[in-house]
């Protein structure tokens, strides 16, 4: 067992974990942050995408002990402020809602975290950059058309 100390969504946390515990398990099971989904558990689908020190990673392919001292952000921490009604959304979340960029919603948290990471590096992406930037995330419902639309809308909002 090891004690892992990290910051999650701005809060310092300390968790006792087995060395083999994945970051995704700690987020979901120890911290109750079940917005981080585990889709494939084989590093392919991207549903478990979170930000570690500002960079997108698949939390099912990182040991919790590797995140020692890191700053982790999950979908629950993305919106700038959380009011009681939960109505405040990040521009990427807002765009996904308005563009209907989801159907079943399972991939959505990981997709949104990946988009937020993409727009940080590429604030004004073209179609090819969006497709290339979301290669690590799969959606089996939408055909990606509305996801690409949402990324463009969020990019406009965030540049304004």
């Amino acid at each position: 067992m090891s004690k892992v100390s990290l910051t999650v969504n701005g809060k310092a946390v300390s968790v006792d974990v087995e060395d083999r515990t994945l970051l995704s398990s700690v987020l979901r099971e120890s911290l109750g942050l079940t917005g981080t989904h585990i889709g494939c558990d084989t590093s392919q689908c991207g549903c478990c995408t979170v930000h570690v020190d500002g960079r997108v990673v698949k939390s099912c392919t990182m040991l919790a002990v590797q995140a020692e001292g890191s700053d982790v952000m999950t979908i629950e921490g993305l919106a700038p402020s959380h009011d009681a009604s939960g109505a405040t959304l990040h521009p990427v979340q807002q765009a996904f809602s308005e563009c209907h960029a989801l159907q079943c919603g399972f991939c959505t948290p990981g997709m949104i975290m990946a988009v937020a990471g993409l727009l940080k590096d590429t604030p004004d992406p073209d179609d090819q950059q969006i497709i290339h930037g979301l290669e690590g995330n799969m959606c089996r419902c939408t055909g990606y058309v509305n996801i690409v639309k949402a990324v463009k809308q969020a990019a406009v909002t965030m540049r304004a």
């Binding site: 392919t61 040991l63 590797q66 990946a114 690590g136």
Partner: protein, 270 residues
């Protein structure tokens, strides 16, 4: 995953000592291959020695006309480094196309080269450029380093510290990625170093190899027509669910032509 003990050593000698004193210990770099392997219980290390934070394995710099890249350098750092983009842009472009953004943010050059996956991108650059792999024990020429599928010259416990690349006059990489995994079905890296043309192929065979027939042809005349009609022998190439060997043989020629096209049409030749 089977149980293991995770250790983050403070120095390279400490890492080497941990690996030497525990027979079942394995080094852990970005973990983009090792962690999925552990999850499938295909490997059972006693210890994982995390080498990513070691200062000796960090850094990107041009020293005495060579590009030196620390083994723990992540793909995203190679892709976005102004030093790499200026001195060896083909390598930055290659790194920008590895896997997906999540993989590039974690995976490292040393990890990829040490793993020597037959479909990995970096081995083609290391071999085509004639790079030198520096370990904590010795310097190994690219020619001697890669020894077939997942096999390298590394001895048990030996760690890659950095890779030293000569600055190519001209270089480019082209790959046909598998549409789902992003791995190279076939990737070809062409480099001109000190006037000599070298062509390295990944993804097509059981390990990275040089396409010497194309090298000879391009040495005589550096243009598409020199290789456009070359036939690639499919005998030893990979055949699997994704493509038969003959398909990959054709891809070798097509990717070589695309890499060459990139070289011939870009201003700096890279």
């Amino acid at each position: 995953m089977y149980e293991f003990t995770y250790i983050r050593p403070g120095s390279l000698p400490e890492a080497a000592a941990l690996l030497a004193s525990n027979e079942g210990a394995k080094p852990l770099s970005g973990g983009m291959t090792l962690i999925p392997t552990l999850k499938q219980r295909l490997s059972q290390p006693s210890h994982l020695v995390d080498i990513t934070a070691l200062a000796a394995l960090k850094g990107i710099a041009v020293v005495d006309g060579r590009l030196e890249i620390g083994a723990a350098t992540r793909h995203i750092e190679v892709a976005t480094s102004s030093v790499v983009r200026q001195s060896l842009p083909a390598l930055a472009a290659l790194a920008a196309g590895i896997g997906d953004p999540q993989v590039r943010n974690r995976g490292t050059m040393g990890g990829s080269v040490a793993n020597n996956d037959p479909a990995a991108d970096y081995p083609s650059a290391v071999l085509a450029l004639g790079a030198t792999v520096h370990t904590d024990r010795r310097a190994i020429a690219a020619e001697d380093f890669f020894q077939g599928m997942f096999a390298t010259a590394l001895e048990p416990g030996e760690l890659i510290v950095r890779i030293s690349f000569p600055l190519a006059e001209r270089a480019a990489y082209a790959k046909f990625p598998h549409p789902a995994s992003g791995y190279a079905m076939t990737g070809v890296f062409i480099a001109v170093v000190g006037g000599a043309v070298r062509v390295a192929v990944t993804g097509a065979g059981p390990g990275v190899f040089r396409w010497t027939q194309a090298e000879t042809a391009l040495q005589a005349r550096f243009e598409s027509a020199a290789i456009a009609d070359l036939e690639v022998d499919a005998t030893d190439l990979n055949a699997d669910i994704h493509a038969p060997a003959a398909y990959r043989a054709n891809l070798v020629r097509v990717m070589a032509l695309r890499a060459l096209e990139t070289i011939l049409t870009s201003s700096k030749g890279q």
